[in-house]
Amino acid sequence: MIPFPLSFASARPRSRGLASLALAAGLAVLPTAHPLRAQTAPGGAAPPASTATATPALNATGPAASPAAAPATGTTAPAASAAPFKIDTGDTAWMLTSAALVLMMTIPGLALFYGGMVRKKNVIATVAQSFAITAVVTLTWFVCTYSIAFGANPSPSANRFWGGTANFMLKSVSMDKPYQIAGATLTIPEYVYMMYQMTFAIITPALVCGAFAERFKFSALLLFTMLWSIFVYAPIAHWVWGGGFLGGLGVLDFAGGTVVHINAGVAGLVCALVLGPRKGLGHDNMAPNNLVYTMIGASLLWVGWFGFNAGSAVGANALAGAAMANTQIATAAAALSWMAVEWWHRKTPTLLGMASGAVAGLVAVTPASGFVNPTGALWIGLIAGAGCYASAVWLKNAFKYDDSLDAFGVHGVGGFIGALLTGVFADAAINPAGKVHSVLTQFEGCVGTIVWSGVVTFLILMVCKFTTGLRVTEEQEVMGLDLALHGEAMHD
């Protein structure tokens, strides 16, 4: 969300760093040898005096973005202390609202988006997954993952990998100081920032559910979610946003294309491969039970995504407005792009296609929303709509994995498209932090997430397999998960 000190790292050490990361992640060992310029963070922390003092109320690029724009000299620190950051009620109001919007994305948004797509006998079980995940991640966040992701580890070298235990149980969350993160001072209280970030931690595993819908055990879901939020989401969030080593790479990711979407998409692919396809796939009619639910879900995702993307400006400012505009344009373009390709390919423009395209656009514009201009957003949307259509319709069938509701096809692929295109379309006129941008850097930025997410997700699935078990029995699958797992049924 905060486009942190992104533009300092030079290309060389970065790519070497990543190579070792890929290796290390495969071995589940954390590399400690490459500094990766984490030390630039303090310099990036000081708000540029000129911006901060000349336009205190204007706040166009905002304190959120300004660290990246600051010369990394450290000389601006005195100016910053002369004009100390304060909590701004307007910024805080928007972030409180954004937290509510992003929570609404998961429940009821995503629950309905997915719930409408399964067969009727599984609709309760499917919406129950989003609901349960919301509850489980809230508690892991409270207990430890907020601290792991956003805690300030007293040891700078350890801090490159995790945030430490200082905020376990939300200890030491301040009631009166503006929140400081990775060296930058925001204009909102820490509780608000913590809540906003929690809603991101909630939606990410909920997105994964699309891949294993209609066959995953509920007990496995609870355990999987708990472990995944601790061992996959929290570290990656720390590396990118919490002051960890990925934040310094120069990767542009405004609102979480990598941490949220590529991460969830890859995890989904692993789940789909490990679980195997649903019984009857290719033979039974697996038509969505209720596309009105899916439409409601897609719409609430769309509306709520304003909190996701525009909220990632961490303030009520012009950057938030631009992010909102980019979100809207890319989403509309992707909805029409998917529809057009489908119309040409299958002779029919479907509602599910438009809704899927819209979500693909939302995903793809996520990393770009605060960096590109509207024309860039248009292109991102057009490409993402067509690209995700191809992945959901063609790739899936070609490789014969059963990514039931296209968690990988839309979030993985869409997130990847968006990450790369952010490197193409970033426009410094929208956000000075996007001045330096490169497709290669963006690509490298994705690799760490992909490897870590893929490997650790697999390990967690193995843990579940030998404790709760992964998949319902064939009889339960035929009967439907609603009755089999929850003793409930739709009576309409």
Binding site: M286, E342, R346, T348, T350, A392, V393, N397, D406
Partner: protein
């Protein structure tokens, strides 16, 4: 018993009541036959819909009315397009009105 197109239900009911039939029972069913179904499309997967929505009309009438009832249904449900459906005649041995216990023709 007849299987007809859903939008013809009201016509059939009206024609039958005009002919003095006082009661009938309908059921939503799905029919498979010569009429080609639609295709449903979901994220590229096409499902041929083999079963089309039809309505089953069950009407029990006195023996002497059977011929007329069949003819009435046929006429009212006719569109001339494939899928119009069928009328099947079955023998009902006995009819009882639950409310009164009347049997036979009086029960209809």
């Amino acid at each position: 018993m007849a299987v007809i197109k859903p939008f013809k239900v009201d016509d059939v009911r009206e024609s039958l009541t005009a002919a003095g039939v006082d009661g009938l029972t309908i059921t939503e069913v799905k029919g498979y036959g010569r009429q080609k179904g639609q295709t449903e499309i979901y994220r590229g997967a096409e499902y041929a819909i083999n079963f089309l929505p039809k309505v089953k009309v069950e009407v029990v009438v006195a023996d002497d009315l059977v011929e007329r009832a069949v003819e009435i249904i046929r006429a009212a449900a006719h569109t001339g397009k494939i899928g119009d459906g069928k009328v099947f005649v079955l023998d009902v041995e006995k009819a009882v009105r639950i409310r009164t216990g009347e049997t036979g023709g009086a029960a209809l």
